[in-house]
Each structure stands twice: as structure tokens, then as C-alpha cells.
Amino acid sequence: MSAWRVPVALLAVALAYPLVFRTNFAINFGVLVLFFAVIGQAWNIAGGFAGQLSFGHAVFFGTGAYCSTILHVKLGINPWLGLWASAAAGALVGAFIAALSFRFGLKGSYFALITLAFAEAFRILTNAVEFTGGGLGLLIPLKRSAANFQFPERIGFYYTILALAALSIAIALWLKRSRFGARLAAIRENEDAARALGIDTFREKVKIMALSGALCAAGGTFYAQYFLYIDPVVVFGADKSVEMLLVSMIGGTGTVYGPLIGAFLLTLVGEGTRALTNAQGLSLIIYGGLLIVIIAFLPNGLIDLFKLRWGRRRA
């Protein structure tokens, strides 16, 4: 089956990576790449596949991070269970925002900005109320054990996020080949035509936002467990939303491997430029400049590099 060649090869490489590059630095790098690939893919299945651009995906990310952390810190619920609860909460928030916005016919930039407004509202609320720790944030007590989703070694985190990344790519692959995915593409291209062909655009959009929200929220839980501290700005801030969109767009929106490629390159460029110079601001000048150069030469995202190499394969 040639369709399976790419994902299987990628998985093999990813599985072997920490066994070859064993330092914590290398593994941490891998974790970051996969982490961004997961949340980038979460954005991509809504923004790229279904054309529902959002500037506020942090709302799902933060929901996930806070959901499992509150359950864990306040109620003593194991974060592995919390992960599922987070995904459910993310799906719920996704469905809620989508239902509300799409019921009232929001589109394009209007939808993008309303998600941002929701993310801001969530940030301000978490900041204001007590049980989220308010502005103090939430600290997850150190209790190193795999059972506690606090692996003593980074490699444990690596394989966890790898599993999530694999799941996210599997979702994207499935969307490329399924009826649901075809309907999303139709909605992205032309909603009126989609409706004329019997697609319940409202329902499909709510479904994909729920799926995207769930995946993103799972990423949020992972983040909380990896860094053991969250606060409203870190998880609900506009920065996170932009990072997700950037990873996906730089890699190639609407493609299966775009977010992964984007995550890899942006993490690499981020680390690389920081290592390059210590002058204040210079590293980010280079980073931003590289961003522009990438877009200038690869207008469809980095994925084009691979297409050129292996011949154009259409979706």
C-alpha cells in the first residue's frame, strides 16, 4: 500500500529518534516539535481543511490545560483521566463557540475574530475567578511518576506526545479520504454550493470545531503536565493562537503533513536563531526575516519542497 508509506516511515523515524539522540536537549526538541505539530494540526483541520480560520484557538488550548489541572490540583483526579476530560471539554467549548457563531451566520474574518474574543474572555475570566488560581496561576505539585503523567525522564513525555501527534495525523489522513473531509473541503470552497448539494453546513462545521477543540485541548493538558505551571496569559494568550496558525500556514494549510513540517522548521529556526546571536532583538529579527523569506519562496508552505521533490501529488 503506497498510501501508507509516508506515515509509516515517519512513525518509524519518530519512534527511533530518542533512541538515537538521547540527550534531554534533543528529546526536549522533539517534544516541542511534536507538541506544536499537534496543536498546529488541531488548527489545521478547522482552518485548513474546513476553511474556518480562527485567531483564538488558544481558547481550546487553555480550556484543556485548565481542565485537567484543576481536576488534578483541586480534586486529586489523575491527569491521565484529566486528559480525556480535557478533550471532552475542548470539544464542548468548540461545539459551543461554533454553534453560536454559525447559527448566526458568522463567516471569514468575523468568525476568526470572534474566536479571539472568546479566548480573551476566557483569559480574563480565569484571571478573575478564584478556583482557577486567578492571576497566580496553578502550580502542579511535583510528583514524578509515569502514573501521574509526570514522567521522571523526558522520553516518557516524548512518546506520549508522539502518540498524540500520530493521532492528529491519522485524523488528517482520514479527513482527506472520507466523506466528512470531502464535505469540509466543499464548505471551505463554497458554502452555498455545498448547501445546494445537501450538506448540512452548520452541523459539519460544528463537528469539525469540536474535533479541533478536543485535539487542541489534549495538547493543553500535555503542556500543563510538561511544564507543571500554567497561568491565564500563557495558555489563553493570543501568542498561542498565533503560534498554531503559524505552524500550520508555514507548513502548508490544508495539507496532512504541513503542521508537522511547519512545527519542525519553526522550532528549528527558533532554536537556531537564538543560538546564533545574543544581541538583544537580533535573533528575532532573523527569525522574522526567515519567515518572510520562506513565504517569498514557498508561497504554499514548506510542503511544496516535498512536492517538488516527489512530484506534485494532488489532494
Partner: protein
């Protein structure tokens, strides 16, 4: 004679983004200390080994902070100095703890950083808990001396961990010195306009406004209260983000009479004054970040000197047992409890139209407080 291998010290500060200024100031202070130590012959117990700074930018993001820590670990770092923001310090110290690498917090207010039982983490400066205690003690004395001019206060604080934490503690303790808290007001970061806040403060008619905010909001708030001519006995802040020489220079009318509790150098110490001159000669400001980072490095170097080796266990032990007193802060000798120096103390300062003076503790004071301040009318 063969040169001893240099000892790498990782500086993990937010050099870009919202906290870039503070991060840059931290880095400058730390670098000055490293240069000074090297010029004086390095770590003598280790054959004159020089300190070598590894510079890192944590961008005020937890994930970047951890990356920087790991990257420096690869490069063979012996100790870290950082991180300015608590949100980064928490995961960064945790990452360093895997290797047991000493981590000296120069700035970073949260007490959680040192309370978590990580044996490699040390903080020389007092946490905000201690700062608030000092602020209360000092304010109590100043107020008493003024015949209890202040009987009521409104608290204004920024919304993140630093402001919220500080305000919570203050609200609990102000009544103990006879000051009633009329209201606690939280504001967002950034806030673009304080006109309404000023309005409400005027309506509440407090004697004091007690603030804890970051630099820009600090200045904006002070400016608005001044413009709106809100009459107060005084404006008092704890770790006031914008309270520095620049503020005095740029907005002298606004700054005049403002009182701040902050990390401050001992003004009677000649080395502190010399360093202040050096910094100002470069066109920079001698802000608290500079000397806190400077002293953090010095503290670390002292520990290494006593450990006589870069062995992490030994350095940690030496730091934990430190009694270092060669700083130029208004502190007593160092005494570490769970990584927190309990010998540290904050100072209370007041701005005049041209300068900043220490007004408390009296032992270090360079002038007497003007309190209550003159009324507008």
C-alpha cells in the same frame, strides 16, 4: 601554567518581548559581576578558573525557558542565573533540577519557586512575602511618625501573579498598622487608560494609594492620578515597576513624593555607588534588576569558591550553607532556608524632583520621608 577550564554560567532572561527591558537589565548586572570576578582572578579555589557567561533568551515563555536550560546543559553549564518572570522560573528550575545544577534566582517574585523542595534553587533577594512584611513594617513606622496621617488605603495592582500575590498579602496586613483597606482594584496588563480608576479612587477618598504594577502601568497610573489632582497623603508602592531614576528624570512632577518599597542597594556602600556611576556612564539606568543579578552572580561565585570545585552537589551544598555578606544590599549575612535567603530585606524609597532617597530602614536612610505630601490645592 595551564589555564583552568572556564566555568560556564547560564544567564536565562527574557531579552525580547514585553519583559525585554527588565531582562536586558538583569543580563547587564550579571555580566558586570562576571567581568569583575574574572578581572579579580576568577575562582581562586579552582585554580583561577574564569566564569564564562552563556547567554540565553527565554522570551518570557515557559517552553523557551526550558529549551534554553536544556541547550545550556548540552553546552556544559555549571550554574544558572535567571529568570525574571515566575512563569518561566518554575519550569526552568524544574528542568535544571534533573541535573541538580545550581540555579540562582536573581529576580522572580513567586515564593513557589523556592518552596517546591528543589534542592538546586536559591534566591538571595526576599520574595514578595518578605517584601510585603518590610513594606508594612516601614509604612507603619513612617505613618506613625507622621501622626497617623494615613488611615485608609486603596490597593491597585496588576493582574498577574506578582501584583495579585502582593496585593493579597497587603490587604491582609494593612489593618494591622491601622490602615483600613477601602478597596482592592485589579487592572489588566497592559492597561491603556487609568482615567476611570482615578475617578473611582477620588470617589473613595483614601489617604493612600498602594500600588503594585509593572513599569508602564506604574508610570501611567501615577501620571493619571497626578493629572486628575487626586489628593492623597501619599502614593505608596511595593516593588513598583516604574519607580526608578528615569521616571524621576522624565516626569519629575509626577514622581515627586512617591514612595516605593523595593530591592535597593545600600546607598552608604561605596561599591554600590561606584557601580551606579559605571552603569550611568554607559547611559543605562541603575535599576533593581541590575544589582540583583549582579549580587546573585557574586553569591554564586562565593559558593563555588567555597566548594572548590564545579561539582554540582558540592556547589549546592556550599550555597545552602552560605553566610555570604559581601553584597552591597541592605541585607544581613545570608542564611538560606529551603533555598530562600532569610537575611534579605527591602528598602523604602522616596522620589524627590531630582533623585531617589532611601527613607527606611533608618539605618540606611539618606533622608527623612516627606509624608504626608503637600496637597494640590
Amino acid at each position: 601554567q595551564a589555564q583552568a577550564r572556564p566555568i560556564k554560567v547560564g544567564l536565562v532572561h527574557p531579552i525580547t518581548g514585553f519583559l525585554a527591558y527588565s531582562g536586558g537589565q538583569c543580563r547587564m548586572g550579571a555580566m558586570m559581576a562576571i567581568e569583575e570576578i574574572n578581572a579579580a582572578g576568577g575562582i581562586k579555589s579552582m585554580g583561577g578558573a574564569k566564569l564564562e557567561a552563556l547567554l540565553g533568551d527565554n522570551q518570557a515563555k515557559p517552553e523557551v525557558g526550558v529549551s534554553v536550560v536544556e541547550q545550556m546543559q548540552e553546552a556544559g553549564v555549571s550554574a544558572y542565573i535567571g529568570c525574571f518572570s515566575s512563569a518561566v522560573a518554575l519550569p526552568a528550575t524544574q528542568a535544571a533540577a534533573k541535573y541538580n545544577t545550581p540555579f540562582v534566582i536573581d529576580v522572580g517574585a513567586s515564593d513557589n519557586i523556592v518552596n517546591r523542595g528543589l534542592r538546586n534553587v536559591f534566591r538571595l533577594k526576599p520574595g514578595f512575602n518578605a517584601c510585603v512584611d518590610d513594606a508594612i513594617a516601614g509604612l507603619g513606622e513612617i505613618n506613625k511618625a507622621a501622626g497617623s496621617a494615613a488611615k485608609s488605603a486603596v490597593l491597585v495592582h496588576e493582574e498577574s501573579e506578582f501584583g495579585t500575590g502582593t496585593a493579597k498579602l497587603l490587604a491582609g496586613k494593612l489593618p494591622s498598622i491601622g490602615i483600613e483597606v477601602r478597596e482592592v482594584m485589579k487592572h489588566a496588563n497592559p492597561t491603556r487608560d487609568f482615567a476611570n480608576l482615578a475617578l473611582r479612587i477620588r470617589g473613595l477618598k483614601p489617604d493612600l494609594v498602594v500600588m503594585s504594577n509593572y513599569q508602564n502601568e506604574y508610570v501611567l497610573l501615577a501620571r493619571t492620578l497626578h493629572q486628575q489632582k487626586v489628593d492623597l497623603a501619599g502614593m505608596f508602592s511595593v516593588l513598583g515597576g516604574g519607580f526608578n531614576y528615569k521616571f524621576v528624570k522624565e516626569l519629575p512632577d509626577v514622581a515627586q513624593y512617591m514612595i516605593d518599597t523595593n530591592h535597593w542597594f545600600d546607598p552608604t556602600n561605596a561599591r554600590a555607588q561606584a557601580m551606579k556611576k559605571r552603569v550611568e556612564a554607559k547611559g543605562d539606568l541603575f535599576t533593581f534588576e541590575v544589582y540583583l543579578a549582579y549580587n546573585a552572580v557574586k553569591f554564586l561565585a562565593d559558593g563555588m569558591e567555597r566548594a572548590g570545585s564545579a561539582d554540582k552537589e558540592k556547589v549546592n551544598a556550599a550555597l545552602a550553607a552560605s553566610t555570604w555578606s559581601d553584597h552591597f544590599m541592605p541585607y544581613g549575612p545570608t542564611r538560606m532556608v529551603n533555598g530562600q535567603n532569610t537575611g534579605g530585606k527591602a528598602a523604602i524609597l522616596q522620589a524627590s524632583k531630582t533623585d531617589i532617597d532611601v527613607i527606611w530602614p533608618t539605618r540606611f536612610a539618606s533622608t527623612k520621608a516627606v509624608f504626608p505630601k503637600p496637597r494640590f490645592s
